[in-house]
Every structure is written in C-alpha cells, then in structure tokens.
C-alpha cells in the first residue's frame, strides 16, 4: 500500500504533467484506446488497453502498451461480436488491478489522447476510485472534440450549422483523413489509428491558433 501511495504522490507532482505553456509540437502524448465488455459503466468493465507514445508529431512505434485483462464482469455476447475476444482467451489474464499501475507509469509526463475519451475515462476512473480512491490525473485531450472544434472554426463567421451531419466515429474519420485501417483491430491498433488522426490534427492546429498544451486542452476537453 505504501508503494501505491508513493506512486500516487509522484503522480500528482507537477513535473509528471506537461507544463501548460509547452508548444504542442514538443509535448509527449500517450494515445490510448480500451475495449470493454459493454457501454454501461456500472455493469461492464475493461477487457483490453492499448496505447502508443508520441513525441510531438512523431509516433514512437516501439513504445507501446498493450494488455488484455480478465474483466471484472462477464463478457457479453454483443461486445464479443465487436472486439472478437472470446471468454476462453481472458482466462488466466491478469486483473485490471495488476495492470493499472503499469498503465499509469506509461502515461507519466504525457497528455493522454483518445477518441471519445470520456467513455474510456469513465471506466478507468471507476477502477482508479476502487484501487486508489482518486481519479485519473493526467491531462487529457479528445480527438473527437478536436475535430468538432476544427469543423466549427472552418465554418467560422458564416455562423451556420452544417445540416449535413457526418459520422464522427474513429473509422469514419480515419477514412476521411486517408489513414490506412487494417481489417483486424484491437485496442492497440485503434490507438495507433487515433494517433495518426491526432498526428494530422497536430499539423493543422498551429495555423488555427492552437499552439500550446493549454490551448490544446481547452479545445479538446473530453
């Protein structure tokens, strides 16, 4: 328990979070995705966590995180169809309790980025609260929100709301930005796709006035 408290203190310390004035091209990011047994935060839980690190616009291909855990709640048939993980595969996998600290360590010093991150966060925070009595502390940014904000900017002064609603799920956006999507996907591959989406956004943002971590967190709040 001491070790956990120690980690918690370090985690809270300022130098483990990027400073708000840091240019977005110099910040470390961890782009994360999870797969769940379902969407109900009370009755479902995390099955896999995937994450890839970025230094500014560079995706660091060798610095990845991927864990499959034995979920706290049963795998449900609807979600099995989506992620393709069979109950037999998770037998004997570590519990989220054993993996969470490694994940927190992987995220140290980084802004955590995800697509529709609020869902992943709600599940992470459930476990954080259970295990550490607190919340996930890293600064977070959502690519879905970033995209919406950028759309708003380009609509700009016209002030009209675009009637034609487009799909904003990860794969529709990947297609829109010509990101290669392989047939098989899991939390890590989806995190990699999200990272490439974020990589493109990073190249557009400075021209729209988003230059620092503070600016980014403001427009991309999950």
């Amino acid at each position: 328990m001491n070790a956990v408290m120690e980690l918690f203190k370090r985690h809270a310390a300022e130098n483990f979070c990027p400073g708000p004035a840091l240019p977005i091209g110099e910040c470390r990011y961890v782009v994360m995705d999870t797969e769940l047994t379902g969407l109900d935060v009370k009755n479902d839980s995390i099955v896999t966590v995937g994450a890839v690190a970025m230094q500014g616009g560079k995706i660091i291909l060798g610095e990845t995180f991927y864990e499959m855990v034995c979920p706290e709640t049963a795998l449900r048939s609807e979600s099995i169809l989506i992620h393709g993980i069979m109950p037999s595969e998770v037998v004997g996998k570590p519990s989220i309790d054993d993996v969470l600290d490694d994940l927190l360590k992987f995220c140290e010093g980084a802004v955590v980025v995800g697509h529709f991150l609020s869902l992943d966060l709600s599940f992470l925070n459930k476990e954080m609260k259970r295990l550490h009595g607190g919340k996930f502390r890293q600064p977070v940014a959502d690519t879905l929100k970033m995209h919406a904000w950028m759309q708003d900017q380009s609509r700009g002064s016209r002030g009209q709301y675009d009637a034609c609603e487009e799909n904003k799920d990860l794969f529709s956006l990947a297609k829109k930005y010509h990101i290669q999507v392989s047939a098989a996907h899991n939390a890590l591959m989806d995190a990699f796709i999200t990272a490439q989406l974020f990589q493109r956004f990073l190249s557009f943002l400075p021209a729209l006035g988003v230059r620092t971590v503070k600016d980014l967190l403001r427009i991309a709040k999950p």
Binding site: V52, Q55, G57, K58, I59, I60, L61, G62, T64, Y66, H178, Q180, S182, A184, N186, L188, M189, F192, Q196, Q199, R200, S203, F204
Partner: protein
C-alpha cells in the same frame, strides 16, 4: 506487437532494409518513429542544421531540390514510397544540403543516426548499398551544380536527359483501321503532311506503324497492289516509351531497334509519336545522327566535317546531364567508328593483306577514356608470314597501309603522337611473334624504358581486323606477367611515384611557374595515378579489361584492394573525369583550346571537398601498394 509488424512488412520491400535479418529488422522497427507532413510542408530546409534522422517515405512523395549560388531552385529528385532521404547530411552531421518538400500528404518513418550507424557497422550488404548511393548522390549533386553553371552561360539547349518524351512528342497521331487500303492510307498521310501513321485494330489498340519507308520499299519498289489492306505492309512490333520517360531512353530504344519512330504511351493509351526528327530538332544534332552520318560516308574527306562535330557532342551530352562514364563511352564509340571507317577505306584501297592483321588502340583510346581528340596511339599486329618473300611483301603492304591510316586520322583531327607510338612507325607494326618477344622482354628485363612502354602498350585493345591476333597477344601477356614480382614491383614503384596533391586544399600544391602557374593538372596529378594503380591491380589479378572502370568491375572478388575500395576508386575516377570534361567544354565554349589545367579558385566548395576525398582515396591505395611491395622498392 502489431504496430511493429506493420512496419516490418513495409521494410521487407525496401532496400537496403530488406537485406537485414529478421532480428535486426525488428530492432529497426522498434526504433522507428512515424511523422506526417501535409502537402507542401517543408520537411528539411537547405542550410538548416542537419536532421538527426533518416526518413523513409511510407506513403506520399517528396521533392528534393537545391538552391544554387545563382539563386535558382533546381529540382534534383522526386522520392516516393520506399525511398529514403536525408542520408548525406545525416552522416556528414553538416548543414542540410537540400530542401525537401512534401508533394502530397506524406507519411515517413524516421530512423535515428545512431541506429543507422550501428546497422552500417554490422551489416556489410546494408553498408554496401548505402555507400554506393551515398557517393552517387554526391557526384550527382556536383554535376547539378556544374549543370546550373552551364545554364548560367546562357545555353538554351533542350535537354536530352531531362526532357520527358511527352514534352516533344507529336501529339494527335493520325490513325487508320487495319483494313484500310494502302492507297487510302497514303492519301491520309499526304493530306496531313505526315511521314507515318498508326494502324489500329478493331479494339482501337495500336498494332502497327506505316512510314514513308514502308510505302517506298514494300509498295512502290515491289509493285504491290495499292488496294491491299494496309496491315500487309505495316511494321511490327511497335516499340513504345512512356510519356514520362526521358528522351535519352527513346534514343536508346531507337538505336537498338534501328527505327525512326517510337510510340508514346500514357496510361496504356496511345498519346503521340516521337520521331528521330523531333529529337534532332530538340538538340540541334543528336549523337544518334552522328553515328549514322559517319556510317554513310564513303571517303576520308567526307568524314572530316562529321568528325569535327564530335567535340560538339561532348558539350551537348554534358549540358544534357550525362555522367562522365557515359560521355566517355559515347565518345569512345564515335571515335571507334571513325577510326574503323578510315581502316575500312584503307582495306578497300590496298586490297586483301598478305596475312591477317589486327589494329590495336592503346593509351586513353585503348581504355575508352578519351574526352576530346587526343594523340594517336596505335599499332598493328599481324599473323607471322611464312618465308622471306611473304615477309617482305607483308612489311611493304602494312608500311603503306599504316601511313595512309595515320594521315587519314590526322585529317579527321587526331594529332600525331609526339613519341611516335603509331603503327606507321615500323617498330610498332610487327608480327605476333615479335610483339610477344617485346612484351616478354619488357617483363623479364624491366628497365625504366621497358616499364614506361608497358604502361602505354599494356592498355591495348583490338579495334579492327582479326580480333584473334589481339586476344592472342592479350592472353600471352596475362600468362607471362602473372607472378612476375620483380616486374610488378618496378611497375608499382612507378605507380606510386606520382602522388596526388593532397596538400592541394590547404597549401595549394599547384604548378609553380610558367603558363599554368597556380593551376592543377587534373590528368597528370589525378587521373594518371588512378589509372596507373588500377592497371597494376589488373595485371596482378590477371584480368583482360583495359578501361579503368571495367577493370575495377572485373576485379571485384578477385583483388582484395578492389574489394575494399573499388567503388570509391570508381567514383573518384568518375568525378575527376567529369571535372576535366566540364573544364574542357567551358574552354571550347570560350573559343580556347582544351587543356587539363584547372584553377582551384574557380571550384565550388563541394567540388573541392569531393576532389580532396578522391585524392585521399588514391593516396591511401598508393600507401597500400608501398606496404605490399615494401618501402625499399626497387628504385625507379
């Protein structure tokens, strides 16, 4: 992990990474990062500090350009998927030497310098690939620099090597169906005032071509019925080039297939047609047309004006962007044809010789390394005559023959050899047995004069007549020089005596006085030592090639020094030759006589740097020779 698998799959198709072991490739994949550049983004900028990573294009494409001293932006290259960029600046840890811009949305893998260095140290095939492309890039860039200079002199020549076929091809080709009659086709041609038309099949695909020549040779000359379908007289197969191919590719195909028209294809569809005439218009005059001009001459007087144009070819090729080795190859080919033509005239004039003979070229002509016309260096070897009467007849025949050829060559612009190393000198017009005795004598008794003669004569190459006499002499030489360490040591001592001026760039070791004060003799101080040491190696290794670059190529795997520095020597040779040719063309443009003296103050920093590297490699190899034969080598 899956992400790395993705990049490994990619690397497996990309040289030199594909040469890596599975384990090394995994290490590379794990150490890579990935960047995205929107279209038009400047990825690397000339004169910025060098990037710390090599970039491999995963998707998209980039343009590499360089800004010249005169402020022009010259596009050097386009790089696409699987290509790398940034290596030269990366390894030099210098300033970035080029500007790289994304032509479209582009994704690159990045690999850090340390990682590349580790791979270079541990993987021979990886190293070989990069060394080759590395030095080539350098030479290419210098060439571009020179190229920009010659543009600066106001040349408006179109560029054989840089003009895509699509730019000059005749568009809007006239076509007819294959069942059209010959008469209708001919009428179509005269109506459109064209010399050829394309025959299409029922599916609108080109299947043949009909030219004026076909009408002349296959219809008129043979009295064929003009109501026959045109497909009966069309020429097959159709040779094609892509619109994006350079005109040089088209010229090569036209020479190869002996045709005057070539189809231009875009996206699989007929786009236009390119004729020899288009190419001549493009250039004013083409190397192809010179070769044909030469062949069609019937007298020495007819050759003279054609021969005078050969110098012009060098200038054209240089402006067109040919590499030095290509230029000297084309010059050698044209000069060979010229000399052969004079010899054919001599054959005709003097009738059948009493015994078969072979005309030998040596010196720079023997090595196919002439730039502009150099002194005649030639000899005759003939089959041993039988009996005193035949001996006498033979000697008389070849004396007159050689004199006629010598004077003919002088008329065509090849000056006399001051040292009289010519077939017209009875000493160098001998039967095979005497030549063998000469060679054997020089090898067995290497006096200074003998070694000097070996340097010149051992680069001989049969040019005309009975080749077997020339090859017989070559075989004799190779057999007898092998293991003749005393002779080789003498040759080695001469070879290392002429050191390249290494201090050139600090203290400028140049000519101390006279007309060429403060200038450097590129032929004597640069090319000479390199040619000499490659010749020495080729005698050691027992290979029969005579040109320096071919010798280097042939010795790979047969000579330890060539195995370790052969590519660098070849690049050095190519570079110094290019420098020399460029200098001479500049002189000719200014109306001066070409020489080998270059003034270092007129060279760019990059040129100086590479010339220095070239001298260093020559010097290093000379040191190796001294070590091998011992510092106390026979004194010259």
């Amino acid at each position: 992990m899956l992400i790395a698998e993705d990049s490994i799959l990619f690397l497996k198709n990309v040289p030199p990474f594909q040469f890596l072991s599975e384990a090394d490739m995994k290490v590379v994949a794990d150490n890579m990062t990935m960047e995205f550049y929107p279209r038009d983004a400047v990825i690397l900028k000339q004169d910025d500090p060098a990037s710390d990573s090599l970039r491999i294009v995963k998707k998209g494409g980039v343009k590499v350009s360089v800004r010249t001293d005169s402020g022009e932006d010259l596009t050097i290259d386009h790089r696409g998927e699987g290509d790398t960029f940034g290596l030269v600046s990366l390894m030099g840890q210098d300033r970035q030497k080029t500007t790289v811009v994304a032509l479209e949305d582009t994704i690159c893998y990045l690999l850090k310098r340390d990682q590349i260095k580790e791979l270079l140290e541990s993987n021979p095939s990886f190293t070989e690939y990069f060394l080759q492309t590395h030095f080539t890039t350098y030479v290419d860039k210098v060439y571009r620099e020179m190229h920009s200079k010659s543009l600066f002199y106001g040349s408006s020549d179109h560029l054989l090597f840089t003009t895509p076929v699509g730019d000059i091809a005749t568009k809007g080709v006239v076509t007819v169906r294959e069942d059209t009659t010959i008469r209708d086709a001919a009428q179509e041609m005269s109506k459109n005032r064209i010399s050829c038309l394309i025959v299409m099949d029922r599916n609108e695909l080109p299947v043949g071509i009909v030219t004026d020549r076909d009408l002349r040779e296959k219809v008129v000359a043979r009295g064929r019925n003009v109501n026959d379908p045109v497909e009966d007289i069309m020429t097959l197969p159709l040779i094609r080039v892509d619109v994006k191919d350079y005109c040089f590719d088209a010229v090569l195909k036209m020479i190869k297939h002996n045709i005057h028209h070539i189809l231009v294809i875009k996206d699989g569809k007929l786009k236009g047609i390119l004729s020899n005439h288009d190419l001549m218009l493009l250039q004013g005059s083409s190397p192809l047309s010179f070769a044909k001009d030469l062949e069609s001459q019937e007298s020495i007087d007819g050759l003279v004006p054609v021969s005078a144009k050969i110098n012009r070819v060098v200038g054209l090729l240089l402006k067109d962007g040919a590499r030095a080795s290509n230029i000297t190859k084309i010059i050698a080919e044209l000069n060979d044809r010229l000399v052969r033509k004079v010899l054919e005239f001599a054959d005709r004039k003097f009738g059948k010789p009493p015994v078969p003979y072979c005309w030998l070229s040596f010196g720079s002509e023997g090595r196919k390394e002439q730039t502009f016309k150099t002194d005649q260096d030639n000899a005759i070897v003939y089959a041993d005559p039988v009996g005193a009467a035949q001996e006498d007849a033979t000697r008389k025949y070849f004396a007159a023959f050689a004199l006629y050829v010598r004077d003919g060559l002088v008329k065509c612009g090849f000056p006399l050899c001051p040292a009289d190393y010519m077939a017209s000198n009875p000493k160098w017009c001998q039967p095979l047995s005497v030549w063998k005795r000469h060679f054997g004598g020089w090898i067995n008794n290497p006096t200074p004069e003998a070694v000097l003669r070996s340097l010149i004569f051992f680069d001989f190459r049969p040019l005309h007549g009975d080749d077997s006499l020339g090859t017989g002499l070559r075989e004799y030489l190779m057999k007898h020089v092998k293991g003749q360490n005393v002779f080789l040591a003498h040759m080695a001592s001469v070879t290392v005596k002429n050191r390249p001026p290494l201090g050139f760039f600090k203290t400028f070791i140049v000519e101390k006085g006279g007309e060429h004060k403060d200038e450097l003799n590129l032929k004597f101080r640069g090319i000479g030592p390199l040619v000499d040491l490659v010749r020495l190696f080729s005698l050691e290794a027992g290979i029969s090639e005579t040109s320096t670059l071919e010798r280097i190529e042939a010795m790979k795997g047969k000579h330890p020094t060539i195995d370790s520095v052969g590519d660098e020597l070849a690049q050095a040779f190519e570079f110094i030759t290019l420098l020399r040719i460029h200098h001479q063309v500049e002189q000719i443009d200014l109306g001066e006589a070409p020489d080998n003296f270059i003034n270092p103050s007129k060279m760019s920093n990059l040129e100086k740097k590479i010339l220095k590297e070239s001298f260093q490699i020559i010097s290093k190899v000379q040191d190796g020779i001294i070590d091998l034969y011992g510092p106390g080598m026979v004194s010259g």
